[in-house]
Symmetry: C2
Subunit: 344 residues, 2 copies
DNA sequence: TTGTAAGCGTTATCAG
DNA sequence: CTGATAACGCTTACAA
């Protein structure tokens, strides 16, 4: 009612709401955090005052005392890329990251925690580490793409709750979610063999990241150790050039496992350039079952990874860690499945 | 030296640093915010104490008093998409957003402000608005993709500093950065005409977003109003299906302007499927000059938009607005250029 | 140049 | 069930 509380500029304070509702600030706080005991009548009055004044809690003041910010970061780290910002091109070009974001967002929403995406390369590692240390977020979902990435260890050392999107390269007592990479690659090899392919080959991901090495291992375990392999970088053009190298050296290959759908799309183009028909001349299997698989011509047979569910699981684990500080690390492994379309 | 300040758990407080350095907390604060007057000796001692204790300012406490968080959000809003999370697939599949992120990050770094990416659709508009109101960030770089998106107006109403990535649909006193869309489209039309094309057509973006409508207008201004146009959605498959429709109705077309490189990539595929050779049978020009243009076969002639520079400019404007609250809105328009490759 | 002390807007612990 | 009243960790006049 006072002149002062009437306007309140752009950001009414809790005291102003309290005044408007004729209660104490403590009661307003209780209503907002819907604490058990507040008389229904009072509660309504406070709610009214809140909407009337357009009150929004000041997050700084709140988290100063609660030590929580109700938001978590999805950090996408790519330390090895060239010094320019080309890593951002990869991130915003590969459907994988969108799927992770979608899965995490969905799982976080019911908990009322915000998700912010933070891409980073070696250049701003420090900036990001500082961001995390400063307490902007309560925890981290971390996608790291190199075994030389110091970030996972740093985050762990910082003691900030974290969940990795894949098995850590080194031994690190941290929770993570992953798919059974080897098994997925085996499925691909078996399918190719069952299809009658005689000369198998593969385009792997970078070998310094577990997903790259594991998919290669798994494929070789079934296809035979000496199968030709070229290393790609999980990009479309990377897949394309790798396929060309492969075809140069092994013109007779008739079955190809590519460690990601995006690379497979590139490989398909190389195959087409060389006049090989898919799947008649060479059968191709991808990995991920991302939107890229459906954009392939022909539609790509691929190893499906339930990325959205995996990301949701990551979010759940992270929430648990945030909620229970001492909680011991846990890892959950999803099983991949083969999705058969037209390329193999 | 005391037992208490010796360990200090994971988060030493400023008082502990002060104690370690034998000064008052105020002095530590001055050193951290490198205020003018601190004796060199003292300053060093404090610096030592800081690194020794591993001190990091508590952002909540700090921003409670400064009212700044030293971080801004890049909000990517796509309100019209289907109810699932497919909008995230678009965002993480179109190189444009990576370029914006790169440009903004680069411009923000010298100011020591963090950038967080926040994708949002209609489902979590509220969540995002709350995030912004709560004061997690000092300002917003906003990419909005529909004239029906309420976010720009909401953000403006909230009074939080903001810069849009394109001309707002309605009249809104807010700063923005844009490229001269019409001019870019004109460049494309002129080039096609100069090349001798007789039957032009275009695949536009959604008409409810300025970039979509403006590029169409500009093209028609030069190519002639009745040129056939099909509407795409800025995705590759959208471009592909639009091209098919166009070819069904106008089999004789020999010059095609596609309002984005990604759509052009799809159009190229449609052209190839129908046995049209590019550029011999039909010349194709894209828009953006993104990485997609180089992945096209043949490499795409396209209207270049200096997205990174534009994003950097956005960041500068935002910093200015944050620094000077009352500052009046400003818009800066970049000029597009034609990049000639092999498709036209 | 440095220290003292008063907040910043919440939550949370007490009494009442 | 509600209301005072301490913190929370930092910045910033104001004094010294």
């Amino acid at each position: 009612m006072s002149a002062k509380s009437g306007r309140g500029g752009h950001h009414p304070t809790m005291d102003q709401v309290a005044a408007a509702a004729g209660v104490s600030r403590a009661t307003v706080s209780r209503v907002i955090n819907n604490a058990a005991s507040v008389a229904p009548g009072i509660r309504d009055a406070v709610q009214r005052a809140i909407t009337q004044t357009g009150y929004v809690p000041n997050v700084a003041a709140r988290s100063l005392v609660t030590r929580r910010s109700d938001s978590v970061a999805l950090v996408i780290s790519e330390p090895d890329r060239p010094d320019d910002h080309s890593f951002l091109n990869r991130i915003f070009t590969d459907p994988y990251f969108g799927r992770v974001t979608a899965g995490a967002t969905g799982a976080l929403r019911p908990h009322d925690v915000h998700l912010v995406v933070v891409p980073t390369d070696a250049d701003d590692h420090h900036q990001v580490v500082r961001y995390l240390r400063q307490g902007h977020v309560d925890g981290v979902l971390l996608i790291s793409s190199s075994e030389h990435d110091p970030l996972p260890a740093q985050v762990h050392a910082l003691g900030i709750p974290a969940v990795l999107a894949s098995r850590p390269s080194g031994p690190l007592p941290v929770s993570y979610v992953d798919v059974d990479q080897r098994h997925g690659a085996r499925l691909a090899a078996e399918h190719l063999l069952a299809r009658g392919c005689r000369s198998l080959a593969t385009i792997s991901g970078p070998l310094d990241i577990p997903a790259g090495a594991d998919r290669l291992d798994g494929f070789r375990a079934v296809a035979g150790a000496p199968v030709p392999a070229e290393i790609g970088d999980f990009t479309r053009v990377g897949g394309e050039t790798a396929a060309h190298r492969l075809l140069d050296q092994h013109p007779g290959l008739d079955g190809l496992f590519v460690a990601s759908d995006l690379m497979a799309e590139g490989a398909l183009r190389a195959l087409q350039d060389r006049g090989r028909r898919v799947p008649d001349d060479v059968a191709v299997i991808g990995f991920d079952d991302s939107s890229a698989a459906l954009e392939c011509r022909p539609p790509l047979t691929t190893v499906r990874q339930p990325v959205e569910e995996m990301a949701a699981e990551m979010a759940q684990l992270l929430i648990a860690h945030i909620h229970t500080p001492g909680r011991s690390p846990r890892s959950v492994i999803f099983q991949p499945t083969l999705v058969i379309r037209d390329s193999a």
